[in-house]
């Protein structure tokens, strides 16, 4: 079941955007994910019902996008940029440091459920490469020390 708040937020999105119901599907998935951290199977079915789509159609959208999570993720998601400018400027050092520090590889979540580590396409912050995004915050000109200091801010 979609919660009352989820339904209200999706309704507001539909009202704001016009168009048919399915055009709100991306934002509806984001809304569910904001409340639950990820998008479980039953939410896919409930959204399909609500938006007059089939569950497969909704899942087709959910799995298309890299920032919709169909598995549980940590409280904070680290998106580390591996595109060409960051690659040139030290992405591999940053990824290795993150992996060692957190004890996880790309695609994994720490045992305490605090962090999930994912690669991301160019964040448009190439002038401050290497860069990463934690939740909605952009961090650039990264070094191993700076990464440590940044991680401390996300409990």
């Amino acid at each position: 079941m979609l919660s009352e708040r989820e339904r209200l937020e999706i309704e507001a999105e539909l009202a704001r955007h016009g168009g048919d119901r399915r055009s709100a599907v991306t934002e509806a998935l984001v809304i569910v994910q904001r409340h639950r951290g990820w998008v479980p199977d039953e939410a896919v079915a409930d959204l399909a019902d609500f938006l007059k789509m089939s569950p497969d159609e909704v899942d087709g959208i959910a799995t298309f996008y890299s920032l919709i999570y169909r598995r549980p993720v940590g409280r904070h998601v680290i998106l580390v940029c591996d595109s060409v400018s960051c690659w040139i400027m030290g992405y591999r050092t940053i990824r290795e440091h993150l992996g060692k520090r957190l004890g996880i590889a790309l695609g994994e979540t720490t045992a305490d459920g605090r962090f999930t580590l994912l690669p991301v396409a160019c964040l448009g912050a190439c002038e401050q490469a290497p860069a990463m995004m934690v939740d909605e915050d952009l961090h650039g000109t990264l070094t191993a020390e700076k990464v440590d200091e940044i991680l401390e801010r996300y409990l």
Binding site: T26, L29, G60, I61, W87, I88, C122, G124, E127, A129
Partner: protein
């Protein structure tokens, strides 16, 4: 306040400072272009933009005015008509639209209103990538201010012309930046390409006439309307192409960044002048002139003017005009691996050359980097560059992916051969 003529697009942008509010933007001369536009006919504005020779800044370089002229107009034309603003800036090394949206959101809103009026669109979508949280917040605020002041809504400044602006936020996939994929995404479908014909100016969003333009392209429109096409042509150092360009440089330069300069500024002026040259006293190995979807160029191309025609003549693509610079310590095979990893991951999977070919290319490059390269690997790469060509794929994603690799195999072939021969990356 007098407008700074040399850099119209960034005149109001001060890095690190909040963008101008509506009132401040108006005081700086903002929305004057809209008032002027509303006194003219849509056809007059289209003609002005065509004469200005404003070429699409999203990478394709097609004349914006000519693209607009494909839209059906007049009482007989089907409606509603849509303008879709491509703000899904995910091309690696491209960061220029973020600057414009974060730095001067009202400029984009004004540009959208004028451009929509010029093609008689009643709804404009701004398609923003999810990671651009700050851009989306600032655009939402600017749009709300514009509605409250009567610049948007049922009758723009009482003119009788009505426009709604809707901000659509994506959820992460480069393929959404492809125009037809973007229309599918807005409709709530997977962002796969569409076959053409029909052209989207005839059959676009929800089957209605639709125009898709890049953020930077549109941002030029108010300035063309206000100052005229001759002024716009005069901003440029290019033979035919009008205006300024937001150039960028990232990678191994002293001062990576973005600069608004005359269209046709040379690569040398950007890399050695604006960006301060190669960092740490090293030498230039090569550079991509226009983001990930362009062929590598080398030192002998430094005096090439960075505009669509000149870069094409030099054997590459101007693309987004944001340069990626490699020094002589950067492995070009590794850089290609990063590029192809990106393209293979971002493929929508709709057509075979892209879905199957790009991962194969990426895995081959990974093997070379890790010392597992074999005789014949370079031929596999050559084959993909040769065969993944326009008309073999539905859209330009895979063909764009082959450009950097093709250039690297041409200019840095010895580096690829050394990886195979020495069974390791010689740059490690």
């Amino acid at each position: 306040m007098r407008r700074t003529m040399e850099r119209p697009l960034t005149q109001n942008i001060v890095p690190g400072r909040e963008p101008l509010s509506l009132g401040e933007y108006e005081k700086a001369g903002g929305y004057e272009a809209l008032r002027k536009a509303l006194r003219e006919t849509p056809a007059e504005i289209r003609a002005e933009v065509t004469k200005a020779n404003l070429l699409g800044r999203g990478g394709a370089g097609f004349s914006a005015g000519r693209k607009w002229s494909h839209m059906p107009t007049g009482a007989e034309a089907r409606g509603p008509r849509y303008l879709v603003v491509n703000a899904d800036e995910m091309e690696p090394a491209t960061m220029k639209d973020r600057l414009l949206m974060e730095g001067d959101p009202h400029q984009l809103i004004e540009a959208i209103i004028i451009s929509s009026y010029a093609i008689d669109a009643s709804v404009a979508y701004i398609f923003v990538r999810r990671e651009y949280h700050l851009s989306a917040r600032r655009l939402e605020k600017a749009a709300a201010e514009a509605y409250a002041a009567g610049y948007l809504g049922k009758s723009v400044l009482g003119s009788g012309y009505g426009l709604d602006v809707r901000i659509h936020r994506s959820a992460g996939r480069y393929m959404c930046g492809e125009a037809a994929g973007m229309l599918n995404a807005i409709e709530g479908k997977r962002a796969i390409p569409r076959s053409r014909p029909p052209h989207m100016a005839q059959v676009g969003l929800w089957g209605k006439p639709t125009l898709v333009n890049n953020v930077e392209t549109l941002a030029n429109v108010p300035h063309i309307v206000l100052h005229g096409w001759e002024w716009f042509r005069g901003l440029s150092r290019s033979a035919e192409e009008g205006g300024t360009k937001i150039y960028g440089a990232s990678g191994r330069v002293k001062r990576p960044g973005l600069w608004e300069l005359p269209m046709g500024t040379t690569a040398r002026e950007i890399i050695e002048g604006q960006a301060g040259g190669i960092a740490d006293g090293r030498a230039l190995k090569g550079f991509l002139p226009g983001g990930a979807s362009s062929e590598f160029l080398t030192e002998k191309h430094l005096d090439v003017k960075m505009d669509f025609a000149s870069v094409r003549a030099a054997g590459s693509h101007f693309g987004t005009g944001t340069l990626v610079v490699l020094d002589d310590r950067t492995c070009p095979v590794g850089a290609c691996y990063s590029l192809e990893l990106f393209f293979s991951r971002e493929s929508c999977g709709w057509c075979t050359p892209c879905r199957e070919g790009l991962p194969w290319v990426a895995r081959t490059l990974e093997a070379l980097e890790e010392g597992r390269g074999e005789a014949g690997d370079l031929e596999v790469l050559d084959e993909h560059v040769r065969d993944i060509q326009p008309d073999h794929t539905f859209c330009d994603l895979a063909t764009g992916a082959m450009l950097s690799l093709g250039g690297a195999l041409k200019y840095f072939r010895e580096d690829f051969e050394r990886h195979v021969r020495e069974k390791r990356c010689p740059y490690e």
